[in-house]
C-alpha cells in the first residue's frame, strides 16, 4: 500500500508493463556523421553474435551479444545493483548512460571495458568515421539561426547546442552546416522504429527524437533486463547513435528519465514517486509559461508537485500540468499507438556528402540493413531478392529520380539474417563499377518468403547443413557471379559434349556405367600435334544429325610419350586427323 499525501482514494497498482524510452539527443547529427566509438559493421559472422535470438546460421562462436545466452555479465554495472536489491519486487536499477557525458568516471570506465569486449568483429579495421570535419545542424527560429547539434570535432572546438550561428562561425570559420529538416528527422525516427521492432512488438515513436518500447513482454526472450539493455546499447553504438535510456512502468516517466539522462530507472510503480520526486521541474515537457508559473510558486522539484491536490493543480497550472503528473505516476493511462509496419520495405537514404566509391557506403548500408533486419523480424519472413539502387544526382523531386545504378541481388533461399545480407550486398557492390559519385541509396525488397528457422539441438552447431551450403554459395556467387558455380550432372545423350550439364539434372536415367570416359573434358576439342599411340579399339559415336551438333566420330584412348592418356577422336568425314577431347587424369 502506498501512502501518497494529497492523493486520496488511490488503490495499490501492480504494473504489468515496463517501458523503455530511447532518447536520441543527437539523432540528426548522428545520422549525418556517426559519433565516436561505434564498433564495426556487421561482422563476418565470426565475432559478433546475432542481433535477435535464434535466427542465425552463423558457424562462428556467437558469444558477443546474443541475448538469450546465459552468460554471466559479471562486469555489467547494472547487475551489481540488481543483485543487491534482488530480494523483493521493489527494485531500483541504476541504468547508466553511455554517451550523456554526465557519467562518473567509474561507470564510464566500466562501460568502455564492457564495449571493447564486444567489438571483436573482423571489420574493425575497415571501419572509418566518414566525416571528421566540423559539422553542425542549424535550426532557424524567426530571423536567427542557432546550432541545434554538432558533431564530435565541432563540439571539441567549442560549439554547443543553442549557440547562434554567427558565434559558431566565429569559433570555427570552416564550419559546415546542414539545415534541420523535420521531415528528414521523422524519416530517421521511422528507420529507428523498424530497427527497434526487433526488441519488442510494441514500439511508439515520439517525435522528434524519442522511441518508446514496451519491454516487459520481451524480457524473458532477451534473458533479463541487463541483457536487454546491453543489447540495445551495443546495437545503437554500432550504428553510431548517441543513446540515453530510461526505464519506468509508465511511458511518461520513462521518457522523462531518458531526457534527464541520469542513471535512473524504476521497475515498479511503488518506487516511481520517490525517484521522480528528485527530478527538477526544468525537465518536464511543459510549456514555457507553466514552467515559469511553477518556478514562481517555489516549486523546484517534482516532489513538490506531488504534494499538491489534483484539483488545485488544474486550477493553478492548467490541465496539461495535471495530466502530466497523473501520467507520470500511472494514474491515468497514456495513449501509445503502436508503430505499424508497412507491407513492403523500400527505404531511401540521402547521403550528406557525395560518396566517390562503394567503400564509403559501408556505414549508410549498415543502417539500412539494420532497419531491414527489424522489418523482416516483424514480418517473420526472409528476403528472397532485393534491389539496391545507387542514385547519382540530387534531385528535388524524389519520385522522378529513378535513374541510377540498380543492383539486383537474389538469394538461393530466403534469409532474415541481416549480417548475411550485409555481407552479400557489400561483396556484390564492390564488384559494381561506378561512373559517377553516389548521392543516395535505396534498398527495396522484392520477394518475401517465410523463412525456415534453423533448428539447433543442444550440442550440434546446426542441424540444417544444406542451408548453410546455400549461404556459402550465395557468398561466393556474390563475388564470382552465379554462372561460375554449378553442380555437374550427366545427361542421357551419346554425344560427349551433350552428355553433361552444368546445372540441375535434366534427366536422371542415364546409361550407367558409361564406357571409358575421361575425367577432364576439353571445352573445345583441339587438333592433336603430338605423337600419340592408339591403345584401344574405336568407340563409334554417331548422333544428333538433326541438330547443329552433328557428331560422327570414332573415339580412341591414346597415350603420348609422357604416359598421359588422352581421349581422342577422328571425324568419319576425314579419318586420320585426330582431335583431343579429354584427358584421363
Amino acid at each position: 500500500m502506498i501512502n501518497l499525501k494529497g492523493f486520496s482514494g488511490r488503490v495499490k497498482k501492480i504494473s504489468l508493463m515496463l517501458w523503455t524510452a530511447l532518447y536520441f539527443p543527437q539523432l540528426y547529427i548522428d545520422r549525418l556523421c556517426p559519433g565516436p566509438g561505434p564498433g564495426p559493421g556487421p561482422g563476418n559472422g565470426n565475432g559478433n553474435g546475432t542481433v535477435g535470438p535464434g535466427n542465425s546460421n552463423d558457424s562462428g562462436n556467437s558469444s558477443g551479444n546474443n541475448p538469450p545466452a546465459t552468460q554471466a555479465n559479471t562486469n555489467c554495472p547494472q547487475k551489481n545493483s540488481l543483485d543487491k536489491t534482488n530480494t523483493d519486487i521493489n527494485q531500483h536499477t541504476d541504468v547508466p548512460d553511455q554517451a550523456s557525458g554526465q557519467l562518473s568516471g567509474r561507470l564510464s570506465g566500466q562501460l568502455s571495458g564492457d564495449t571493447a569486449e564486444d567489438r571483436s568483429g573482423d571489420l574493425l579495421t575497415e571501419f572509418v568515421t566518414p566525416y571528421s570535419a566540423p559539422l553542425a545542424v542549424v535550426v532557424k527560429t524567426g530571423n536567427q539561426s542557432r546550432v541545434m547539434s554538432a558533431n564530435e570535432s565541432a563540439r571539441h572546438a567549442g560549439i554547443r547546442a543553442g549557440l547562434a550561428l554567427n558565434s559558431a562561425y566565429a569559433i570555427v570559420p570552416d564550419l559546415q552546416t546542414v539545415d534541420y529538416d523535420p521531415v528528414v528527422q521523422a524519416q530517421h525516427l521511422e528507420h529507428l522504429c523498424l530497427w527497434a521492432l526487433q526488441y519488442s512488438s510494441w514500439v511508439t515513436p515520439r517525435l522528434p527524437d524519442t522511441l518508446l518500447i514496451e519491454t516487459e513482454a520481451s524480457l524473458h526472450l532477451f534473458g533479463g533486463l541487463e541483457n536487454f539493455v546491453k543489447t540495445l546499447r551495443h546495437d545503437a553504438a554500432q550504428q553510431g547513435l548517441t543513446l540515453q535510456l530510461g526505464i519506468a512502468p509508465t511511458p511518461a516517466a520513462a521518457s522523462l528519465f531518458a531526457n534527464v539522462g541520469e542513471k535512473t530507472g524504476v521497475l515498479t510503480t511503488q518506487r516511481l514517486q520517490p525517484v521522480l520526486g528528485d527530478i527538477s521541474i526544468q525537465h518536464l515537457p511543459l510549456n514555457e509559461r507553466t514552467l515559469k508559473g511553477l518556478h514562481k510558486s517555489g516549486i523546484k522539484y517534482c516532489r513538490d508537485l506531488f504534494t499538491i491536490p489534483a484539483p488545485a493543480l488544474t486550477r493553478r497550472f492548467g490541465q496539461p500540468c495535471r495530466d502530466l503528473v497523473q501520467r507520470l505516476l500511472g494514474d491515468i493511462p497514456e495513449v501509445c499507438t503502436a508503430f505499424s509496419v508497412p507491407d513492403t520495405f523500400s527505404e531511401r537514404l540521402d547521403l550528406p556528402l557525395e560518396a566517390p566509391d562503394v567503400q564509403a557506403l559501408q556505414f549508410p548500408l549498415n543502417r539500412l540493413m539494420s532497419a531491414l533486419g527489424g522489418f523482416l523480424r516483424t514480418h517473420d519472413s526472409g528476403v528472397k531478392s532485393m534491389v539496391v539502387t545507387l542514385h547519382h544526382h540530387k534531385t528535388q523531386n524524389r519520385q522522378t529520380d529513378s535513374q541510377g545504378t540498380q543492383v539486383t541481388i537474389k538469394f538461393l533461399e530466403a534469409t532474415a539474417d541481416y549480417r548475411h545480407l550485409y555481407r552479400i550486398v557489400t561483396e556484390r557492390l564492390q564488384q559494381t563499377t561506378l561512373t559517377q559519385s553516389i548521392t543516395a541509396i535505396t534498398l527495396a525488397t522484392d520477394e518475401l518468403e517465410t523463412v525456415a528457422r534453423d533448428e539447433r539441438d543442444l550440442f550440434q552447431k546446426s542441424l540444417n547443413q544444406s542451408a548453410s551450403v546455400n549461404q556459402v554459395i550465395d557468398n561466393l556467387s556474390a563475388r564470382l557471379g552465379r554462372h561460375k558455380l554449378y553442380s555437374p550432372s550427366s545427361v542421357s545423350d551419346h554425344r560427349p559434349e551433350r552428355s553433361w550439364s552444368p546445372d540441375t539434372p535434366v534427366s536422371t536415367d542415364t546409361d550407367k556405367p558409361y564406357p571409358a570416359r575421361p575425367l577432364w573434358l576439353l571445352q573445345h576439342p583441339t587438333p592433336s600435334n603430338k605423337r600419340l599411340v592408339i591403345k584401344s579399339s574405336a568407340e563409334r559415336i554417331e548422333n544428333g544429325w538433326w541438330e547443329t551438333l552433328d557428331v560422327r566420330r570414332d573415339y580412341y584412348i591414346a597415350e603420348d610419350q609422357h604416359g598421359v592418356h588422352y581421349w581422342v577422336y577422328s571425324e568419319r568425314r576425314e579419318p586420320g586427323v585426330f582431335f583431343i577431347h579429354g584427358i584421363f587424369a
Partner: protein, 228 residues
C-alpha cells in the same frame, strides 16, 4: 564404480574440448587423428600417418602435367565422402570435370560443387571461403601461382573448418617453402605413378609407387582394349 565413472566422463569431455582447438598442437597428436579419410590405395594408406588423408590440413599435390592420374588419386576418397552426403567442392579445375566419368567413379554428383574462377586470386579467395565455413568436407583447388603466406591462409582455414583441403600446384614450386601439412610430388614412370611424400606432418618422408592401372577402372577403362 559410479564415483569414478563421473571422472572418466569429465576427462573425455576435456579431451573433446581440447581436440576441438585446431591451433592447439599436442605432443601425442598422432593418436587423435582417427577421422582420417582412407585414400583407397593400400600402399598410400600405409605411407600416410594415420592411414589416410587428413581433414583440417592442407595437402599440396605438385604435378608436372595433368593427365597422369593426379585426380584419380583422390577419387576413392571423394567417392566415400559424397556417399556420406558430405559436400565436396572443386575450385578452378583446368578442364571440364566430365560428369559421366565422375559418375563412373561412383561420385554422388548432387554433393559436388564446381567453382570456376577467372584468376588465381579469386580461386584462392573461394577456396578459403569454402574451407572456413566447415560445411564442406573436402575442397580441391587448382592454383598456378601462390605464395607461402597465401598457402598459410589456406592451411589455417582448413584447420578452422576441419576440412580436407587439396591444392594442385606446378611441380616447379616443389623447391619453394610451403606451410602445407602434406606435400606430395607426383610423377609418372611408364606404368606407375610415383608419389614422393616430401613433407608429412606427424609422419616421415617416403616414396610410394602406385600402379596406374588402378586408375583405369574408375574411369570406365577396361584394359586390355583390343586394337584391331
Amino acid at each position: 564404480m559410479p564415483v569414478f565413472s563421473g571422472w572418466i566422463t569429465v576427462d573425455t569431455a576435456l579431451e573433446l574440448l581440447l581436440r576441438q582447438q585446431p591451433v592447439l598442437w599436442r605432443g601425442q597428436r598422432q593418436q587423435y587423428q582417427k577421422d582420417v579419410i582412407p585414400t583407397g590405395f593400400t600402399t598410400l594408406n600405409h605411407a600416410l600417418p594415420g592411414g589416410g588423408w587428413h581433414p583440417g590440413a592442407l595437402t599440396e599435390l605438385l604435378v608436372k602435367q595433368y593427365g597422369i592420374g593426379e585426380f584419380s588419386l583422390l577419387l576413392p576418397a571423394l567417392k566415400s565422402l559424397t556417399a556420406q552426403r558430405k559436400w565436396v567442392a572443386l575450385v578452378n579445375p583446368p578442364y571440364i570435370p566430365y560428369a559421366p566419368a565422375l559418375e563412373n567413379a561412383g561420385l554422388h554428383l548432387d554433393y559436388l560443387l564446381i567453382v570456376d574462377t577467372d584468376n588465381d586470386d579469386e580461386a584462392l579467395w573461394s577456396i578459403e571461403q569454402l574451407l572456413r565455413t566447415g560445411t564442406f568436407s573436402a575442397v580441391v583447388g587448382w592454383i598456378k601461382q601462390s605464395k607461402a603466406e597465401k598457402q598459410r591462409r589456406l592451411q589455417l582455414a582448413a584447420e578452422t573448418g576441419q576440412c580436407w583441403a587439396v591444392t594442385y600446384r606446378p611441380e616447379s614450386e616443389a623447391e619453394s617453402h610451403s606451410p602445407a601439412a602434406f606435400r606430395l610430388v607426383l610423377s609418372v614412370q611408364q606404368a606407375s605413378l610415383d608419389i614422393d611424400i616430401c613433407k608429412s606432418r606427424g609422419g616421415k618422408p617416403r616414396q610410394v609407387a602406385l600402379d596406374r592401372s588402378l586408375f583405369d577402372q574408375p574411369q570406365g577403362v577396361q584394359w586390355p582394349c583390343k586394337k584391331n
